[in-house]
Amino acid sequence: MNSLFGNKGFVLSMDAAVAISIVIVVLVISSFYLSRSEDSLPKVQMMKTGSDIIAVLDNEGFLQSSNATDIKGEINDLLPPAYNMRVSINGTFLSQALIIETGTEPVGATFIGGGKRFFVITSPSPGYGIIKFWIWLK
């Protein structure tokens, strides 16, 4: 390959073209990564909300009675409108698990937060229980 000024100019131009291509690729990839990165605050907030609700149920004494209607009413009172929640209560004082749901099950690839809490029953007889929760966006 012979050009009017030799091959140096062509090689330099190729070098510049490759360098610019690398810069553009780096910028496109970092921009793509930035646009894809998810804000974690909503998920953490959702899980903390679920955890706080079952802690409040325990502190207010709702778990002592294990009355499904009362517990569901309190959850509906506390749960923000954007969320649905499922709660499962099991323990030495129950013959079978108590399941409470506030809405329909999630559809598709929805993030579901969860957790559990151990609690103590004092009446009618001493015992302990586990309350598990699952929480997701409507």
Partner: protein, 158 residues
């Protein structure tokens, strides 16, 4: 056309092409860098806000009766038990200066505000500085206070 004329024309074309690529690249580079830094700053604020709200509503503090001797407090906590706010600790917090609380909470460059309201949004207590900055993170947590459910709102801002 002489060699020199072709050479100058080549130089001009190369310079124009270079400017056409370099200027948008520098602009886009700076934009991406700023977005990254802003995103990292906000993530750090979110993490810190959640950690501080967890500390305040889940922990009794250190020593556990810090409200009796504020000068010997090593860590703040408002809970008498998990997510049950102690009235005595709340009163002690209210009586403590904002700067002392900032040091104990180790908020660093940030400022904060704590607000307790009942479910009807009527205020029970407010403590800290109102938002006058550029960015903030607001965390709402459910807790109990004197047997009743309330909302513990923690705002971290700068």
């Amino acid at each position: 056309m002489s060699k020199a004329q072709i050479g100058i024309l080549d130089l001009i074309i190369a310079a124009v092409l270079f400017m056409a690529v370099a200027i948008p690249s520098v602009y886009f580079w700076n934009l991406t860098r700023d977005r990254l830094i802003t995103g990292m700053d906000y993530s750090e604020m979110q993490v810190k806000a959640f950690q501080l709200s967890d500390l305040l509503i889940k922990s009794e503090g250190k020593p556990t009766k810090w409200e009796n001797t504020i000068n010997e407090t090593l860590a703040l906590g408002l809970a008498e038990s998990d997510r049950a706010i102690s009235p005595q600790k709340l009163s002690a917090l209210n009586a403590t200066s904002y700067n002392t609380t900032r040091k104990l909470l180790n908020v660093g460059i940030y400022s904060f505000k704590i607000r307790l309201t009942n479910p009807g949004n009527e205020p029970i207590m407010e403590y800290g500085k109102n938002f006058t900055g550029q960015s903030s993170v607001v965390i709402e947590r459910y807790v109990t206070y004197e047997g009743e459910k309330i909302i513990f709102e923690f705002t971290l801002w700068k």
